[in-house]
Subunit: 191 residues, 2 copies
DNA sequence: TTTATAAATGAATAATTATTCATTAATTTT
DNA sequence: AAAATTAATGAATAATTATTCATTTATAAA
């Protein structure tokens, strides 16, 4: 018999926080600014999150979940490793291009000291299926034999930096250059 | 006829700031903490830097200069592209392994909104010789034909993420795995 | 339609952190 | 050795920003 919490507000708050981070850097991530950007009163954020740290942990987890869903989506499951890898690579690459603010949020806060160990455990678990997928390819002699964490670092690290270059406008991503980027990734890990 | 500024203090302040960032994330980068870590009084930092923003810009520039010196050191100049590339790759990889705090400092502040455009211009200029070096290899059909900013992003991005994995202790870098990492880099860009 | 309940507000407050400044300590020059 | 000058100190202050709370508003249930 009362007003209900509004799920769209959670999305607004998340979007506002990420967009502010992209626009102003983490120095621009003030609770009042987030509220303003989300078109809410400052206090409203505290109805949805107990503290700023809570907000950051929730947002980090939500983004990681979204990325995991994207990667593990059935549409990426092809009949051979190369095709599946290609599909997943493009899924992640496009995610980063389309939501660079989310990519940067995760990067900025991973080493921020603001994430709880629970958050780190949960988000690491989300990636396990991807690691299993790579390990299988290694057993089948398709992928270089190296700890999967480094394989994933090679692929993701390169994507992140490429997208960041594209953000600075130092260079422009075209259909051709994106193909190059994919084959850089593939050639780096294939046997 | 008076006391002189002490250059070793600048180094202390720089080291303190980077080490705090590595240990506590950018939330731990408080002027008072930096001073304490550098074994100085809070006010002393303000003799060397006008503001916190000044300190960050100076430190960013100093690290970029150090990296540039490392990369362009004559010892890396070999007779062929592959050998020179290999030498430079290891120089940068080892720099990141040995001074991850510096690597993280640069990464965290590049999109922080705290760097002046002057700082960004200066530090970009420092990398120009490296870009020229890659462009020459492209003309000689040794390296994939893609904007050098993306080539450099591919190499540096992968290194950063690999070093970060190693920092989290999720996986350990051995002589063998480092060799793998190098060949991932080389295979990604070679023609 | 009324009532009960919780969301929403935003100014006020609390907490945090950058910066200043009066004072002291060093050290260079004469 | 004394004087002059500037570095160094750290407590006090100013500025910034997270959080609270008294009040208002919206809405689900009766």
């Amino acid at each position: 018999m009362a007003r209900l919490k509004d799920d769209t507000k959670i999305q607004s708050i998340h979007d506002a926080a990420c967009n502010l981070l992209l626009k102003k850097g983490f120095d621009g991530l003030k609770m009042a600014d987030v509220a303003k950007q989300a078109k809410l009163a400052t206090g409203t954020i505290y109805i949805y999150y107990k503290t700023k740290e809570d907000l950051i942990n929730a947002l980090f987890t939500a983004i990681k979940q979204e990325i995991s869903n994207e990667l593990l989506h059935p549409k990426n499951q092809k009949t051979d490793f190369f095709s599946t890898f290609k599909s997943m690579w493009f899924a992640y690459f496009n995610y980063c291009i389309n939501k660079p603010q989310n990519m940067l949020f995760v990067e900025q806060f991973y080493h921020s000291g603001l994430l709880t160990s629970q958050t780190l455990t949960i988000t690491d678990t989300l990636m396990q299926p991807v690691y299993k997928f790579i390990e299988l390819a290694q057993k089948n002699d398709i992928v270089r034999n190296l700890d999967v964490y480094f394989i994933q670092a090679q692929i993701a690290g390169a994507i992140h930096e490429i997208v960041k270059v594209s953000l600075t406008k130092k260079a422009k991503l075209t259909k051709t250059s994106i193909q190059h980027c994919f084959y850089m990734a593939w050639n780096s890990i294939r046997k």
